[in-house]
Symmetry: C3
Subunit: 155 residues, 3 copies
Amino acid sequence: MNDVVELINRVQNAYARCIDSGKLEEWPDFFEENCIYKITTADNFAQGLEAGVIFANSRGMLLDRVASLREANIYERHVYRHFLGQPWIVSEDANEAKSETSFFVARIMRDGTTEVYATGRYIDVYKLNGGAPKLKERIVVCDSSRFDTLLALPL
Amino acid sequence: MNDVVELINRVQNAYARCIDSGKLEEWPDFFEENCIYKITTADNFAQGLEAGVIFANSRGMLLDRVASLREANIYERHVYRHFLGQPWIVSEDANEAKSETSFFVARIMRDGTTEVYATGRYIDVYKLNGGAPKLKERIVVCDSSRFDTLLALPL
Amino acid sequence: MNDVVELINRVQNAYARCIDSGKLEEWPDFFEENCIYKITTADNFAQGLEAGVIFANSRGMLLDRVASLREANIYERHVYRHFLGQPWIVSEDANEAKSETSFFVARIMRDGTTEVYATGRYIDVYKLNGGAPKLKERIVVCDSSRFDTLLALPL
C-alpha cells in the first residue's frame, strides 16, 4: 500500500478517537504550531468565498476554542461518532502530503437521539515529520449549508 | 495487504469522489465498454428476479443516462456522500476479481436536509487491466425496497 | 501496513457480512469457545458498571441466543448494515491483540424505512491463532443509552 495512505489513515483514526472520546484538550496536538483550521460549506468553498463558520490560524487559537467550549459546558451534552473514508492523496513529496477524505459524523444527544450531524470532506495539508504527520491545514467542507448553532465543536 | 483489496479500495474511492463531486460525465469511465450496471433490491436479488430499477449493458447507455440527468437538471438539486466498507474478495485471478462492498449513501438536499439515502452492497466484477481496474459488472443491491423516484442517479 | 490491522480489518469485514446477510448461525464462529460478549452503554461503561444489556460468556450461549432469535422470528423483520472504522490497536503480542473499532449500524425495516440504529465502538480482545483471529472478548459500547427493545440482535 501507499505508505502515505496508511500513515494518514492511522493519524485520522487517532483524530476521530480523540474527539469521539471527548479528549478535546488533545485535539490541537494534531496540528502544527502554525496551522489553518477552517469549517466552511460546499457552496462557499465552490464560490471561493474565504469566510468560514470557524477559522483559526494557530494551534493557540484551537486551544482557546477548546477552553471556551469547556467553559460553556456545551460538549458534555452530546457526543460525536466520526466515520472516515479512505484518504485520497492529491499530491505528496518527502515532506508534505495533500489529501482529501470524506467524513460522516453522527451526533448522539444526552436523551439518546442519534442523527446524521454532518457529512463532507476534509481538504488537508499534512506535514509528514518523518512518519508523525501533523495538520498544516484542514479545511472542513460541509455538504450541507444548514448549520446547527453548536457547530463550534471540532469536526 | 492483498494487492487486489488495495487496488479496488483505491478505484472505489475514486468512483465515490467522482459522483460526490458531481462529475457525472466521468462516471462511465469506471466501466468497461461492455458492462452491466444494474440497481435492484435485496428482495428481488434474493428471489433471482432479473428486473432492476435501472439497467444498462454498455458504457454508451451510462453516458446516455448522464446526459438525460443533466437535461432533467435533477442532479443539481442535491448531492450525495458515499461511504464504502472494505471490499470483500469473492474470487480473483490474474485478469479479473469478483468483490462485494457495503455502501452507505447520504443525500444532502439544497435546503440542507441530510438523510440516509440508501444502504446496500455492490456486487462487482472487475477487469483488472494490469492495475487499472474497470467494472465489467456492478449490481447495486439496495437493502430497502422503498425507492425514491430520484433513484435514477448513480449509486 | 501493520499486519494485525489488516488481519482484524478482514475478520471484522467477514463478521459484518455474516450478520448483514442474515447468516446468524455462523456468527458464534467468530468467537473462541470461552469468550465474553457484552452489549452495554457508554454511560455504564464509563462508570465501570458491570451489567450489560446482553451478556454471554461462552460460544454456547451465543448459539442459544441465535436459536431463540430464530424461534421468535424477530430477525426476519429487518436487516442490518454495518460500517466499521479502521481498528485501533491498543496492544498486541504474538498471540493476542486488543483493538477498538468504531461502528455504525443502519437498520432497514420491512417497510423500507432506513435509520441510524446504533453507533459506538467495539472493545475487543482477539486471539490471533496464527492468522485466523477469533474474539476472546467483545464489549459493544453503544453511544446512546436509549435502547430499542429489539437490541437482542447481534451488533
